[in-house]
Structure formats: C-alpha cells, structure tokens
C-alpha cells in the first residue's frame, strides 16, 4: 500500500483516540484562553446592564441535558448577571427536560452564590408548558390562561414577583437558550414580533447560524455555542471583577474546543493532502501506461 492510501485508510479508532486525547488533556491541564465579546454578544450584555433594578426578565431554558455543556454556561452567566443587577427573573421552559435544567440553577447556583435572593420575590420557576410555538402564542394572547401558577402549583397571585404579571408584555425582555425547535426563533416569531418584547439569548453552535438572519432587527443579540458563552463570561468578568475567581465553565471548556477544532482542521488538511498526492500518483502512472501503450513498450516502471 502506498503512503497516501495508507493515510487515507487510517483506522477510525485512531481518530477517535486522538479526539479523546484532544478533549481530555486540555480538561486536565486547564489552559485559559482570553476572549473578548463580539458586538452580537456585547449587545445582550449591554441590554441587561441598562435595565433598572427590579425589571422583570423572562428566561426560557429551551434545552435538555444533551446540549447542556454548551448552554448551561450561558444560563449561569445570564443568571449571575441578572441577579447581580437585581432583576426579577422568571424561569420557564418549552422542553420537558428543561425542568431539570432550571432545577440545576435554582437548587445549586442561586442558594450558593446568591443566598440573599428569595424564591417568589427575586426569582420564580414557572416550569414547563406543552404546545411548542403554540404555547408562546397562547401566552402572548392570554398569559394567565396558560401560566396561572408556578412549577410547584403556587398561584401567581400568591407570589410577589408574579402578582402583577398579567400579560407577556409585563416582561421587559425575553431571554431564551435554544437547542432547536421550539426556541429563540419561535420566541421571535410569536412574542418578539407580535408583542414587541425585545428577544435575545443563546443557541448551540449548530442552531446559531439559523438565527443570524434575525439579528439585529428582531433579535437583540445572540450567543453562539460555547464561544458565545465564553465571550459573555469575559464581559461579565470585565464589568464585575468579583467573578474573576468564580468557575467560568465556558472559558474552561474552550480549551478542549480549541484543541479539537485545530485537530479536525489538521485531519481534514491531511486527508486532502493524501487525496491529492494519491490522485497525482495515479495520474502519473496512467500517463506512463498510456505512453508505453502508444510506443508499443511494456508498462513496467
């Protein structure tokens, strides 16, 4: 077997091992990559930053555990930012699995980092509602029809944070963390465009390209994948240095992502190099065979 062919036919288990190493080694060595926010991410940060304390924010966790490594860091950064700014946050989800993602924030992050914040006063969990994009439409048309209690069944009127919430427009912004449908696109189409509420948020790296057409007219800002989350974290640390020592998950996970991206680029380049070398070799042999045929000599070379 010639060298280009042998390169092209590398056992895929070797590639799997390389990818495994590219993920695990940076996780162990924890290299830090400094990021700076791009305008599309900075726009979200600035909007949250400008809101006066006590403003009502709607944060929808439209994802499940499969995309949590990309979207959880965004959720944590947004919760840290909104809580630091003393905003009132209503958690919600259009994904059945999103309930568990909200619980991770309300059970683990908030009591530890913001012990002075109280459930029902500073934040509330409105839970999951079925109906995909239709649920958003129902909430815009008649909010209390669909959402009349929190996830534990406490009526909205009994919670100080939601007692005055009668319509979707009582929220000043909608933030959605999106893994697919329903997600930011539906929030834009059914709530942002119709009710005039500014919509922004984040999506996985796969979803983000589909959301660019809405920016900046219908979508205030977008965090795309882990990179977007890392940019938001850097904006947060720059503005609030107290977070410098906090665990910034996206910044930490950028290490494996950087090494994996570089490895994939190298593998693709290597594959193409082997392909073209092999093709050139085959072309040369075919040329020599053709020449030998025309001159009546054997094709040995």
């Amino acid at each position: 077997m010639r060298i280009p062919d042998s390169i092209l036919q590398i056992d895929r288990r070797i590639i799997f091992l390389l990818i495994g190493a590219a993920v695990c080694i940076p996780l162990l060595l924890k290299p830090r990559f400094q990021d700076s926010p791009t305008p599309i991410v900075q726009s979200i940060f600035d909007t949250v930053e400008r809101l006066p304390a006590g403003s009502r924010v709607f944060l929808s966790f439209d994802y499940g555990p499969d995309t949590a490594p990309e979207l959880d860091p965004m959720a944590k950064a947004l919760v840290r930012h909104t809580m630091t700014r003393d905003l009132e946050v209503s958690f919600f989800t259009l994904f059945p699995e999103g309930v568990g993602q909200i619980k991770k924030i309300t059970d683990n992050l908030l009591p530890v980092e913001f012990p002075d914040k109280a459930y029902g006063r500073d934040y509330v969990n409105l839970g999951y509602k079925a109906g995909l994009g239709g649920a958003i439409n129902t909430m815009v048309v008649n909010f209390r029809t669909l959402v009349n209690a929190d996830a534990e069944g406490t009526p909205l009127d009994d919670l100080p944070i939601t007692a005055d919430v009668d319509e979707m427009v009582d929220y000043v912004i909608i933030l959605s963390l999106t893994a697919g449908d329903p997600g930011l696109k539906e929030w834009i189409q059914f709530a942002g465009d119709i009710a005039g509420i500014p919509v922004m948020g984040g999506g996985t790296a796969v979803v983000a390209p589909e959301l660019y057409p809405y920016y900046p007219q219908q979508l205030v800002g977008l965090m795309g994948g882990l990179k977007g989350a890392s940019e938001y974290e850097s904006a947060l640390v720059d503005r609030y240095p107290a977070y410098r020592n906090a665990t910034m998950e996206a910044t930490m996970r950028m290490g494996p992502q950087v090494v994996t991206h570089v490895l994939i680029v190298l593998l693709v380049l290597l594959g193409n190099l082997a392909y073209f070398l092999g093709r050139a070799g085959r072309g040369n042999r075919a040329g020599r065979k053709g020449l030998a045929g025309r001159t009546g000599r054997g094709g040995q070379s």
Binding site: F16, P65, D66, G100, G134, A205, V258, L270
Partner: protein, 226 residues
C-alpha cells in the same frame, strides 16, 4: 360525510385564525383567543397519543419477535417505570403535592443519574463521528466543495482564540483578513443570505400548503379511508 366534516372544521378554523390575526377587534379576535386556549389544552393530549403509539409499536415488535426486539423491551420498561414514578411521584418528599422534580425524589434521581449522563453521552459521541467523517469525506474535489471546505476551516479556526493568534501579525489595513473577522463576516453575510433564502422559501411553501389544507385541496392528513 366522514371526510366532509373534518374538511368543514378545518376550513372554518383556518379562516377564523387567519382573519383573527389581522382583525384585532370583535368576534374574530375573541375566537382567535379562544382557539389559542384550545390549542394549549389539545396539545397536552398529544402526550397521551404519543405514549399510546409508543406502547403499541413496541408491544407489537416484542410479540412478533421482530429484529432487535430486546431493545423494545428496554424501551417499554424504561417508559413504564418513568411514567409510574413520575405520575405517582414515588419517593417524592412532598408526596403527591410535591414538586415533580423535587430534590430527593426518585424522578430527580433518574433525571440526574440516568437521563442526564445518557443524553450527554449520546450527543458527545457526535464529536468523534464528525471528526472521522470530516477526515474521510471532506475533500476539495470540486469548486463548490473547495469553497465549502475553505469556509469551514475559517469558521473552525476563527471561532477559537487560535484563529486570532494565527493572524495577529497582520497589519491594521488587512485586519479584515484576520480569521475571527473573516469568520464573523461569513456568519453575518453569506450565511445570513443563504439562511434567509431558505427561510423565505420554506415560509412560502408553508403558506401554499396551509392554503391547500384550508381549502380542502390537500387531504392527505385525513388518511386513506373513504
């Protein structure tokens, strides 16, 4: 008659919803609001339909010993166990009145200990297969493939700090050629243009299909039975 009544219902509801969207007063608006509420109620029943359908398909596979039927047994057991634990809030510290995913409940344990890692594992396998597939199939064979390959390389590197580091030496006048800027440009312009074209095409298709359904031209949703 079995086909005519659903067609009439579809026509009336379709016309009311379209009109209610544009006419924000009077009976159309009231009907629009009512139908939105009905929608929220009806979608909940989709879960029952989905659960019933899942049971039917997998029970059939198990009873007929179809290929890979043991996987159907696993599906059925997982479905029924989760359903019972969730419905009856087994192990929930708050009892039947407790929060569905309360700390210490069995459902919370299943979510955190089983569903969460399994789901993350399945998704993370993608990285391995994407790398292997890119290596084997991503070739600059044609002009179009070369453009796609170049854009992918720019995005892959430009979306990491390595991209900035690799092209940091460029003079200010050529800053637009730095990988992060090129990646942002690809996302903001060619990507947006392509996505918009696809979205507008899909939207026109949805409008055309919706009109065909409302007017009764498209009847496939009614099934084959006469």
């Amino acid at each position: 008659m079995r086909r005519r009544i659903p067609l009439i219902i579809t026509f009336i509801i379709g016309v009311v919803l379209i009109t209610g969207y544009f006419v924000t007063r009077g009976p159309f608006n009231t009907l629009y609001e009512s139908f939105s509420d009905y929608f929220a109620i009806i979608t909940v029943f989709a879960f029952i339909l989905g659960g019933g359908s899942l049971l039917k398909i997998h029970l059939k596979r198990v009873s007929s010993r179809a290929a890979d039927w043991p996987y159907s047994v696993v599906t059925l057991v997982a479905f029924l166990v989760t359903l019972v634990i969730g419905l009856f809030k087994v192990g929930n510290p708050g009892g039947m009145g407790g929060e569905i995913l309360a700390s210490g409940s069995w459902l919370r344990f299943m979510f955190d200990g089983v569903y969460n890692p399994l789901s993350a594992t399945m998704f993370s396998l993608l990285a391995f297969f994407v790398a292997s597939a890119s290596y084997r199939a991503f070739r600059a064979r044609t002009k179009e493939a070369t453009i796609l390959l170049s854009a992918a390389m720019v995005i892959l590197l430009g979306r990491t700090p390595v991209g900035a580091w690799l092209t940091a030496w460029m003079p200010e006048s050529l800053a637009f050629l730095e990988l992060p800027n090129l990646a942002n440009w690809i996302m903001a312009w060619p990507n947006t243009a392509g996505q918009r074209a696809i979205m507008i095409g899909i939207a026109l298709g949805v409008i055309a299909t919706s009109l065909r359904i409302i007017l009764g031209i498209e009847r496939n949703y009614l099934g084959r039975g006469e």
